[in-house]
Symmetry: C2
Subunit: 444 residues, 2 copies
C-alpha cells in the first residue's frame, strides 16, 4: 500500500508539472494544512505563487501568539492583543480556503483528512502542524487543580483563578485558609514558569497593592517548583543563576530538586512536603496533539510523530508533520526544541520542498535546524537572553526581548496596541485586563 | 416591626451625628451598596467625605459600560475596553471596601445583607442598585436560542454565535441550510436592536467581505423584528423614519407590527410566518434583578421595586432601590427610563439624602428626573439623537454620539484605547476582536 501511495503521489506531481508546462492556470495540486500556528502560517507564506490550492484547517478561528500568552494569564494584555482570526490573516491569499473544523483522523490510503462531522477533505500533500498541549506525566487527574497554559481559554481560566483567589482572600476570616488563598504555586522552572512567577509576583506586590481593605497583597507567596537542579535548565549556568536572583528580588520563593507527587484542591506536595495553595499553575510537561495517532504513525512517549530527515512520515512522502507535533532530531541526537522559530523554519522548509517537487526535483531534502537562542523575561525590568555568542541580562535584555516580540507580532495594529499596553503598565504599574468572566455559576 | 426599624434608624443617625459633633474620626454609619453599575458608582462618588463606612458588593469584579456592550458583541471592541475592575476604580477611596459576593437576600429587621455563603453584612443604610436582565415575556425557553445582551458573557456569547454561523456557512453545502446560517434575526426595535442590526450588517457586508471562499457574506440577511408600528418608538417620529431608512441603506430588512410567537433552533416565527435563522438575538424585554424579592417589597410585573418618591422602600427609610431595579414614576405617570443617566441621577440623589440625614435634616427629599435625551447609532456613519429641543441625524449625530460616549468612559486609558479602536475600524473597516473563544466542546 505504501508503495502504491507513493506512486500515486508521483502521478499527482507529474500532473501538476504537466499543467504548469502546458500553461494551465488552474492549480491541480491540493495542499491541506492542519494547524494555523507559527509552522502552518509560515508554510502558507512560503507557498505564495506556487501552483497549488491550499486548504487551512484549524479547530480555532485564531492564530495565537503563544510567547505572550502568559501576559494574558497575568492580566497585562487582552486576548485580542495576542490572537487574530486566521481567515483575516490569509484574506489576500485567494489560493487559500480557511476552514474552522475538528479533524477526526487521516485516511492515508485514500488521501483524505476526515472531519468530525463525517465529511472529508482530499489532499495531494498533507502537512500536520497541530502543536502541543501540556501533559501531566500520567497524572491527568491533576489538571483541574493545576491548569496549564496553551490556549486563550487556558489564559482566561488562569486569570480568573488568580483574581478570584484574591477576592476570596478579602472575604476569608480564617488565617490559614487566607494564607492558602494568597499562595500561588507554579510547577516547572522553564521559561513559561519563570515568566509566570515574575509577572504574578509583580501583580500581587505592585499592581493590586492598596486595592484591598482586609488583606495585604504584598503577603502573597509565589512559589516556583522545579524538579531539576536549576531553573532555565536550557540556558547557560550563569543566566540560570541570574534569573534565580532576579526572581528572588521580586519576592518569589524557588524550590529546586524536588519533584511534585500530588496536586489537589488544597495544594501541592513535593519532596514529601505539602504546600497549602489554592492556585496551582502547571508549566512542566508538554505532550503532542494527536497528529501521530491520526496517521497511525510511530511516536515518542510525548506523542510526537517520528519523522524522516525531510519531515515526512515513513512510507508517505506526501505527508509532513512539523512543529511541536513532530520529534525532529538534531545531528547530535538532541531533539529540536518546541519553540516558534523551530516551527517557522520547518514551515519554510516544507514549502521549499513542495515547490521543488512541483518543479520536478523530487529528492528528499533533509531539514537542518538553526538555533537562534533562548529568551525569558523576569517581571517588567529584567530578562535573560542566551544567543550562545551573546549572553544578556537585566534591563538591556528586557528591552531587547520587548522589541523582538513586538517586531514578531503579526499585523501592525496589534503591535501598536501591545506597545501601548506595555508602555501603560511600565509607566503606571496598572494593567488593562483584570476581568473575571466566563465560568460563573450564576449567570442571572 | 416597621416602626421599630425606622426608630432604630433614627438612633443610628443620631449616633453618627453625635460622633461628628464630638470630633470622632471613626465613621459609625455603615452604608452598604449592592451593584457597581452607573447608579452605585455615582452614589459612592457622591458620598466622598461623608462620615460613613461604605461596603460595595457586586457579584462581578467589574463595572460594565453597557452603552458600548453591543460593540463587543459585534467584534468592534475588546471586553477590557468596556469594563474595569470595581476595586481598581475605587482604590483611592479608603472609606470603601469592595466585596465580590453573591447576595442571597436581605434581613430588613436585622439590617443585614445575607450572602450566599451564609455570612452577612450589617448596614445602617442599604442601597440596592442591582440593575436588570432581559426578559422573555414568560417564554424563558427561548433564551438558549435568542440570547440577550446585558453582561460581558452575553456579549462574548453573541460574538461567538455570529462568527460561528459564518464559519459553518463556509462549510455548508445545502443551500437552504446555508441561507439559514447567513440569516440573523434581531428581536426588538429599541436602541439596542437598532445598534446591533446596523453593526452586524456592516460586519457581514464590509468587514468580512473577501475572507471566505465558498460564501459571499454580502448575501447575509439581517432582519430587525419589532412588534410595534415603528422602531425607536421613544424617539420623535421623524427620527424613527430616518433610522429606518438608514438601516435599510445598510441592507437591513425591517419587519414591523408583528409580534414574535416562537423562537427555536431553526428560526423565529412572527405574525404566523417562520423565518429560518440560525442566529437570533433578543433586544426586546427587560426584567429587574431580584432586589424587590430580597426585600419582600412590592414590585411591578417586570419585577421592579415600587419605591417612595424619595427612592426608599415603604416602611424602611434606610433602604433605597435605584436604577433599573426600581420603578420610579414621573409626575405624568410615565416611568423613569432604564438608562445610565437616570441611574446616575438617582445615585447622586441618594448620596445627597444620606448626607442631609447625617447632617440632621431628615425630611424625605423627593427625586425628580431630568431627561437628557435619546441616542442611537446606525452603523458607523449615522445616528439619531433626540434632545427634545434638538434633533440630529446623519454623520453630525454619529460624531456627537462618539465623542459623548468616549467622554463618559471611565478612566483615561480606556478612552484612548476605544478611540484608537474606533479610529482603526473607521479608517480600515477592520475590527479587533473577532475571536471565537469559550464554550468550545473540545478543549484538547
Amino acid at each position: 500500500m505504501r508503495c502504491c501511495s507513493a506512486q500515486k503521489y508521483l502521478y499527482s506531481l507529474q500532473a501538476a508539472l504537466l499543467a504548469k508546462v502546458n500553461g494551465m492556470t488552474e492549480a491541480s495540486h491540493d495542499v491541506v494544512i492542519v494547524g494555523a500556528g507559527f509552522g502552518g502560517l509560515e508554510l502558507v507564506r512560503g507557498l505564495a505563487g506556487a501552483p497549488v490550492r491550499i486548504t487551512m484547517i484549524d479547530k480555532r478561528n485564531h492564530h495565537l501568539f503563544q510567547p505572550l500568552l502568559y501576559q494574558v494569564a497575568t492580566t497585562a494584555l487582552a486576548t485580542s492583543e495576542v490572537a487574530w482570526p486566521v481567515r483575516h490573516l490569509l484574506r489576500r491569499r485567494k489560493d487559500v480556503t480557511t476552514l474552522l473544523a475538528n479533524v477526526a483522523g487521516v485516511d492515508r490510503a485514500g488521501k483524505r483528512v476526515l472531519l468530525d462531522d463525517g465529511s472529508a477533505v482530499a489532499y495531494d500533500t498533507l502537512v500536520l502542524a497541530t502543536g502541543a498541549r501540556h501533559a501531566y506525566f500520567g497524572h491527568d487527574e491533576w489538571e483541574p487543580f493545576a491548569p496549564g497554559l496553551k490556549t486563550l481559554e487556558d489564559a482566561t481560566t488562569i486569570r480568573r483563578k488568580i483574581l478570584l483567589a484574591f477576592e476570596q482572600a478579602e472575604r476569608e476570616t480564617d488565617p490559614a485558609r487566607r494564607q492558602a488563598l494568597l499562595t500561588i504555586a507554579i510547577i516547572g522552572g522553564g521559561p513559561t514558569g519563570v515568566e509566570l512567577a515574575g509577572t504574578i509576583a509583580e501583580l500581587a506586590h505592585d499592581t493590586l497593592r492598596g486595592e484591598f481593605r482586609n488583606i495585604d497583597t504584598r503577603q502573597t507567596r509565589v512559589v516556583l517548583i522545579e524538579a531539576g537542579e536549576r531553573i532555565l535548565a536550557n540556558f547557560a549556568q550563569k543566566l540560570s543563576a541570574y534569573a534565580r536572583s532576579a526572581l528572588e528580588r521580586l519576592g518569589v520563593t524557588i524550590e529546586l530538586g524536588r519533584a511534585v507527587t500530588l496536586c489537589d484542591a488544597d495544594g501541592v506536595v513535593f519532596g514529601g512536603t505539602r504546600l497549602p495553595a489554592r492556585t496551582i499553575l502547571w508549566a512542566a510537561g508538554v505532550a503532542s496533539s494527536p497528529a501521530a495517532e491520526w496517521l497511525g504513525a510511530a511516536a515518542d512517549r510525548a506523542g510526537r510523530a517520528l519523522v524522516e530527515p525531510d519531515l515526512t512520515i515513513a512510507g508517505s512522502p506526501e505527508v509532513f508533520v512539523i512543529g511541536d507535533a513532530a520529534l525532529v532530531l538534531r545531528p547530535d541526537g538532541r531533539p529540536v526544541p518546541g519553540v516558534a522559530p523551530a516551527a517557522k523554519q520547518q514551515g519554510r522548509h516544507v514549502a521549499a520542498t513542495i515547490k521543488a517537487r512541483l518543479a520536478g526535483g523530487i529528492a528528499a531534502r533533509p531539514f537542518h535546524y538553526k538555533h537562534a537562542g533562548d529568551l525569558a523575561t523576569i517581571g517588567k525590568r529584567a530578562a535573560a537572553i542566551d544567543f550562545g555568542w551573546l549572553k544578556l541580562t537585566g534591563w538591556p535584555a528586557w528591552w531587547l526581548w520587548g522589541i523582538a516580540h513586538i517586531y514578531f507580532l503579526i499585523g501592525f495594529r496589534n503591535r501598536l496596541a501591545v506597545s501601548l499596553s506595555w508602555l501603560w503598565i511600565y509607566v503606571t504599574g496598572q494593567r488593562s485586563s483584570r476581568l473575571i468572566t466566563q465560568g460563573d455559576d450564576d449567570k442571572t
